[in-house]
């Protein structure tokens, strides 16, 4: 794989760790606080079912290698998940300590501690089966779902190739996670372990362009669709195609890869999901004079997590509710303002615009974060893979699609959730594929 490029110094400085790592003794104190629950609710809440008390108690005994391996056994992206997971609504949210009138155990930070130690000691992923097996599996997309499936299969000896149109693997884990949570090189470092298992990667390959789906079908026994979602919805209003309008995922990828190291003037972010928050926070840190987040509904309808909203307020982001953008205005080449109209929510919950309520917000950059479209063109090429509402329909337990040669997981199945959900899908599918191959070929 490519050498992992170091980050741009300016980005490192602007995006320090939001949750700094534990010092060794602090990790032991925290791990000793864990009650070691039976059938622990944290483990049940984790989509990958990491055995949380097990890895935490291994930190307490100083068995850091064992701790990391027990994490990786359940979740091959344990390092990035420890830093990007919304733990407040997952493991830490389920911690019984909440009912003990105490802070929950800092599971995410402990997991990071174990994983950092694993990398510091040049740990490698173990095989789950030493035998080499001839069957070939293609994983389309190099995001968390594919990586998890690829690792699970490769660890059992299968021949796995991962395809991605981007030059770097990791999907949103590499290009889309706020840098103060997971810096880009750390995502690549984690994937290096999967490559070292013997998973082959082919980058810059767009299926349907450089390589047809038919070629893939003829070359591989099983195809895993971990393609995620496609481009972001564009701002379909006058001026929406101005070069000063840049979608949130592009904006985030640009600063993470060092293409953008700072911005000037005022920024407006449109949308109220977690990506909108990430973009707004990034704009603040990149030097925007002000960042305003526009949402046509209100706080109560926001799809972002509460803690993300609280964080954005601390970063200095201003929220403007019940505002619907109607036009982007430019002064010669530069963006000058965004025009909105006020909205109101009727008693029945329906949303209406308020007549003659247009107003302008001065801004120099507009960042829409209004969702991604599914990759319908690509999915249409996969014969007999049934979609429901633009999502790939699968058997939940195995990830198998209506075409038995195809399996799928991650955002293209769930419509866009967390990294850990994609990993859980990929892992389940990897295990299911291995089982089915064993059953048919033994």
């Amino acid at each position: 794989m490519r050498k992992i490029t170091p980050q741009v110094a300016e980005i490192v400085e602007r995006f320090p760790d939001l949750h700094p790592p534990f010092a060794a003794q602090a990790a032991v104190v925290e791990s000793n606080r864990c009650l070691n629950c039976f059938d622990a609710p944290c483990t049940a809440a984790c989509p990958t079912h990491i055995d949380v008390p097990r890895f935490i108690k291994k930190i307490a005994t100083g068995n850091l290698r064992g701790s990391a391996l027990s994490i990786l056994d359940a979740n091959v992206l344990g390092a990035s998940c420890s830093r990007v997971c919304p733990v407040q609504v997952l493991c830490e949210g389920a911690c019984v300590m909440h009912r003990y009138n105490k802070q929950p155990i800092a599971i995410g930070r402990l997991q990071r501690f174990a994983m950092d130690a694993f990398y510091a000691s040049d740990g490698v992923l173990p095989r789950k089966n030493a035998e080499e097996r001839p069957q070939k599996i293609a994983c389309l997309g190099a995001g968390p779902a594919s990586l998890a499936a690829a690792a699970e299969l490769r660890q059992r000896g299968y021949q796995v190739t991962v395809f991605d149109k981007h030059p770097l693997p990791g999907g949103l884990n590499t290009y889309g996670v706020a840098e103060y949570k997971l810096p880009l090189p750390d995502s690549l470092r984690e994937i290096k372990l999967i490559e070292d298992l013997g998973v082959r990667f082919r980058f810059g390959v767009e299926i349907g362009r450089e390589l047809s789906i038919d070629e893939i079908e003829s070359q591989f026994d099983v195809i895993f669709l971990g393609i995620g979602l496609g481009v972001m919805h564009t701002l379909d209003i006058p001026g929406g195609n101005h070069p000063g309008v840049i979608d949130a995922l592009q904006f985030i990828a640009d600063y993470k890869t060092g293409r953008t190291t700072g911005i000037h003037g005022k920024a407006v972010v449109i949308g109220a999901g977690n990506t909108a928050i990430d973009a707004a926070n990034a704009a603040m840190r990149l030097g925007a004079k002000s960042v305003t987040l526009l949402y046509r509904r209100t706080l109560g309808h926001m799809s972002a997590f509460d803690f993300e909203y609280e964080h954005a307020k601390l970063e200095g982001v201003t929220f403007h509710w019940l505002a619907q953008p109607v036009a982007v205005h430019a002064n010669e080449d530069a963006l000058s303002s965004i025009e909105c109209m006020r909205m109101e929510i009727a008693a029945d919950g329906s949303l209406h615009s308020v007549a003659d309520s247009n107003f302008h917000i001065d801004c120099n950059i507009v960042i829409p974060a209004i969702g991604q479209s599914p990759l319908l063109d690509l999915l249409a090429q996969c014969s007999e893979v049934r979609l429901v509402n633009g999502r790939v329909a699968v058997d939940r337990a195995t990830g198998q699609t209506s075409n038995p040669k195809y399996y799928a997981g991650g955002d293209c199945v769930n419509g866009g959730r967390e990294v850990v959900d994609a990993v859980a899908d990929g892992k389940r599918v990897g295990i299911a594929i291995a089982r089915s191959l064993e059953a048919t070929h033994v």
């Binding site: 000793n32 606080r33 997971c85």
Partner: protein, 470 residues
């Protein structure tokens, strides 16, 4: 000055002390300067670091056992007796007594097993002004290799003989400090009582090796790559000390005024020793850990507890628990308790469940949702099945917009499925669940009336032997 109740001053075998909290013979009482600061902090007495023929000590000297992130649950030392000149120690004893006439200063003594040597040291200590003498028959390391300390305390005849020699000379009360490194501590207590001892102190430290560095494979404390067994003390040894104090105090042939020693760090610990008959307590590890200042709460806490219990003096409650500890054969076989889980307090850690299944009697179940089934193990889901069910669940990250929170119909803060249930028909009342439960008063043991009269094993077997049983 008024002497407000409760009055915690004590007269221990003729040694008067403003309170029952003494520093044990150890590093905290190594010099006059230290003992005076200790008295200023509130300690009622001090047993001077053992004097005798001056020794040379090694470095390092201490090691400890940490537990669950807490430091020094157990403490170990290989330090010998005072390594300062005898004359300095004697001179400082005089100085301390002059400045603190109302505090108890006890000289701890250890010399070679010769009558003259003991006579000389007794004379010297009493001339210096010591209020009493404590014979160190307990030190388990180093000195014992030279025929002193526990080498004496482990042989009743030696202990009796030396006690008698000391009593020939001593004008002040003689306390004998007992070693726990013996099969039955009462054997030596009997002997020194025969030898004329006025009082006892127990326990000295317990032979120990605290641990081994897994990097270097060297045990601790490390003295140039080697170690030696040491004397174990600190909170870890308190239960052992309490038992030995009780053994001595419940035996009329052994019982004497006793100064309790072993893991005492708080007034609560001290009160327990008094309840088993101790007249004073001696403290070392806790003072080495936190400094002399800990005595403030020991005094304050003891007084507050005594006031609450309407005890005016330590004598009012000293020894009250001795008769409550009997031989097993006198316990009531018809007394029955069962565990009760308070659903409001349960946090759902389910430690009681796993403890009962693996470590007790398989009578706590996670079946509140599927419906209770009382009775034998075979009727219930086993721990591995419970875990497998959880692991089989497909969990996803809840997203507020996509996954509106389900309206909870749960009666308690903890989901019903995670609140364990006790099968009272099978519960043997062992206490284990209530011990592992992290929440105070969540699991309580409730008495169940059996309707049967009290009957001990002794009574039951006697009845059987005489043909009256059934």
């Amino acid at each position: 000055m008024s002497n407000p109740k409760p009055d915690i001053s004590v007269n221990f075998a003729g040694i008067h002390s403003p309170n029952p909290f003494w520093l044990a013979s150890a590093p905290p009482t190594n010099s006059g300067e230290q003992v005076m600061r200790a008295f200023d902090a509130g300690w009622g007495g001090a047993v001077w670091k053992t004097i005798g023929a001056q020794v040379t000590n090694v470095s390092s000297r201490y090691s400890s056992i940490d537990w669950s992130g807490q430091r020094m649950m157990g403490f170990n030392n290989i330090e010998l007796i005072s390594d300062r000149p005898l004359e300095d120690n004697l001179h400082e004893i005089t100085e301390v007594k002059k400045r603190y006439p109302k505090h108890a200063v006890v000289a701890s003594l250890m010399v070679e097993s010769k009558r003259e040597a003991w006579h000389t040291i007794v004379q010297q200590a009493e001339d210096a002004g010591a209020d009493g003498l404590e014979l160190n028959f307990g030190c388990p390391h180093g000195m014992s290799e030279r025929g002193m300390g526990s080498a004496v305390g482990q042989v009743p005849e030696y202990a009796e003989m030396i006690t008698a020699w000391v009593k020939e000379k001593a004008k002040t009360p003689v306390i004998v400090k007992l070693t726990p490194n013996i099969s039955d501590i009462r054997a030596v207590a009997h002997a020194v009582k025969r030898g004329g001892a006025d009082a006892l102190s127990a326990i000295n430290t317990i032979n120990s090796i605290t641990g081994i560095d897994l990097g270097t494979l060297i045990p601790s404390p490390n003295v140039g790559g080697k170690s030696s067994h040491g004397g174990y003390c600190g909170p870890a040894v308190k239960p052992i000390a309490l038992n030995m104090v009780h053994q001595v105090m419940s035996d009329p042939d052994a019982a004497l005024p006793i100064s309790g020693i072993g893991g005492i760090a708080t007034w609560r610990d001290a009160a327990e020793f008094f309840l088993l008959g101790a007249g004073t307590v001696q403290v070392c590890t806790a003072a080495m850990h936190y400094g002399y200042r800990i005595v403030e709460d020991m005094i304050d806490g003891l007084k507050n507890w005594m006031a609450e219990k309407h005890f005016d003096t330590v004598e009012d409650f000293r020894g009250l628990t001795i008769p409550k500890i009997t031989e097993w054969k006198h316990l009531d076989l018809n007394y029955k308790i069962v565990a009760h889980i308070d659903e409001q307090k349960c946090i759902g850690c389910d430690l009681c469940y796993t403890a009962c299944w693996d470590g007790a009697h398989q009578c706590i179940h996670l079946d509140r949702v599927s419906g209770p089934i009382d009775g034998h193990v075979e009727l219930h889901r086993k721990p591995a099945e419970v875990e497998a069910m959880s692991k089989a669940i497909i969990a996803v990250t809840p997203i507020p917009k996509l996954d509106p929170p389900k309206a909870l119909q749960e009666p308690y803060a903890t989901p019903l499925a995670r609140i364990p249930r006790v099968d009272e028909t099978e519960c043997v009342g062992c206490n284990l669940c209530s011990l592992v439960c992290p929440v105070e008063d969540c699991i309580t043991m409730i008495e169940v009336k059996t309707g049967l009269p009290s009957e001990s094993w002794e009574e039951r077997t006697a009845a059987t032997l005489t043909g009256k049983g059934h």
